[in-house]
Amino acid sequence: MSRQLTGRVIENRQIGQDVFKITVESELVSQNALPGQFANVRCGRGLTPLLRRPFSICSVDREKGSFDLGYQVRGEGTRLLSETAPGSQLDFIAPLGKPFSACGGFDRIAVVGGGIGVFPLLFLLQIFKCRESSAFLGFRSSEQAVLLDEFSRHSGRLVISTDDGSLGEKGLVTRAFERELDKRAFDMIYACGPVPMLKEVGRIADERGLKCQVSLEQRMGCGIGVCYVCACKVKRQGKEEYLRTCREGPVFWSREVVWDD
């Protein structure tokens, strides 16, 4: 059960170009959050920006009783968040949303992440214990590439792609992923990143009959399921309907998602 919480900011530092990581004290979140879930954070104190901002939980430290969020500075909300000083109190609601389906039965998993979509995947790799895990991460360029040490620590195989070739291989992460699929078998794919990437990962997985979950973004109001603004179109039993990204998502089975809404 999620709660309206406040927690002390332990650290808030830049880890890449425009990218920050904030560490926040919370016994409750560190003990209960699952990969794929998010925190809905009040980034300022006044009436502008009014709404909270959703960020995927990027890792937890159960001993210290804290969790991390990774975020890119985009607009006013994230700018204010980046200015939040260690020691101050962060106002957030967490953990929210449906987590990634656990790898209980999965032996070999692949995670495919693009840009800020890598954050929930790190948490997943930390928590989901399975025989073999591969991480395929794509960034615009080396300056945006973050948390590589952590990813290499928590995954069996790490493949990096950048759009400009400044790190790893040049090109889309989906290409690296697809090539690897021809060599190696996976039981389960987890993906998070920009929609075109997710759509492509979904297509690749579907073609091969692989299970695949994607974590989606949608503009949110409440984050807790009361306002119905965060609609994601899914098709179940032939019927299309709008589900709440904050409640029935943000993790969906890729084959259910109606991409071209």
């Binding site: 059960m1 999620s2 709660r3 309206q4 009040r42 009436l47 502008t48 920006p49 009014l50 709404l51 909270r52 609601i93 949608q218 503009r219 949110m220 109001g221 409440c222 807790i224 399921g225 009361v226 306002c227 119905y228 603004v229 965060c230 609609a231 994601c232 179109k233 299309e240 309907e241 709008y242 409640r247 809404d261």
Partner: protein, 306 residues
């Protein structure tokens, strides 16, 4: 134990206190119940209901604006039958006033909804003739005094003993006249304001941010407009007025009450703080205590103009 009497009466309903969760921002109650005890509320007005299920509008359905939001949900809801089957049983367990907000394509649909709901275990019906986001949201009825009077007088007989609250749109030249028409049509109370029609544009894609192009503005940005309208309406009608629009703290609610609202609803505030209704309630209590009043009735409509 507080010595302040927070209860208010609206159209025969006794509310423990004047704070009601506004329609469309509290779902059907379940999710909010994870955050606080709903029985502490004066009432809850559930998500706009239509006869048939509605998918709602294309996303994005929300855009942030300075001190406000635009929404274009478009009355996504499971329809009357599913509501009665899936949501009502939970609502029935609550010890708070339960209001069902209804919208229709035609007068017949409104009447059918009212008729079915009047037989249910709910406390009041809120007639939404003001949703700016769907053609079928009743807005076609809600913008003229004639339209409002006609629809209200048609629906009223189907409400049985349930009070009928008419929810007004602010997108009109003279809201007092519209409220009067609602009263003439047989409304037991009016609630206002629904959202103001707005638009936000993504200047790089040159497209509206909202998938539905237009949306309804709510939140603190609209408060001063809403307070003015509540004042205007409460001078014009004899029936009780429920005020809303930008209430996020007790002080905001007091402004509405002084302007003439017998109760208030909290909408957008709940999106920011799930327990916003409770904060507002505490604030009202503090104010009454601090200013030495015994009851809400001591302040309702007590604004003195210059």
């Amino acid at each position: 134990m507080t010595s302040v009497d927070l209860s208010v009466n609206i159209a025969g309903l006794k509310l423990k206190n004047p704070v009601i969760a506004a329609s469309g921002t509290c779902g059907y109650g379940r999710e909010l119940a994870e955050f606080f005890d709903l029985n502490r509320l004066g009432g809850i007005s559930v998500k706009g209901l239509t006869l048939e299920p509605r998918m709602g509008n294309r996303p994005p359905r929300i855009a942030e604006t300075p001190a406000g939001i635009l929404n274009s949900v478009g009355l996504q809801n499971p329809g009357l039958d599913a509501f009665i089957r899936e949501e009502l049983p939970f609502l029935r367990t609550l010890d708070t006033v339960k209001i069902v907000n209804i919208a229709g394509n035609t007068p017949e649909e409104y009447c059918l909804l009212a008729e079915r709901l009047s037989a249910c275990d709910i406390d009041a019906i809120e007639l939404n003739v003001s949703c700016p986001n769907v053609k079928e949201g009743g807005i076609s009825f809600g913008k003229s005094p004639e339209g409002v009077k006609r629809i209200v007088s048609q629906v009223k007989p189907f409400c049985g003993k349930k009070p009928l609250i008419v929810k007004l749109t602010p997108n009109v030249t003279d809201i007092g006249e519209i409220a009067l028409a609602a009263q003439d049509g047989g409304a037991d109370a009016v609630s206002l304001i629904n959202t103001l029609l707005g638009m936000a544009i993504d200047i790089y894609s040159r497209r509206p941010i909202l998938g539905n192009n237009f949306g309804g503005l709510s939140g603190p940005a609209v408060k001063s407009i809403a307070v003015r309208m509540v004042y205007e309406v409460s001078r014009r009608v004899k029936i009780p007025v429920i005020g809303m629009g930008g209430i996020v703290k007790g002080e905001d609610a007091i402004e509405f009450m002084l302007a003439g609202a017998s109760a208030v609803m909290v909408g957008t505030g709940t999106l920011v703080y799930p327990d916003a209704c409770l904060k507002v309630l505490e604030g009202i209590k503090d104010y009454l205590e601090k200013t030495g009043h015994k009851s809400c009735h001591d302040i309702i409509g007590k604004l003195r103009l210059w």
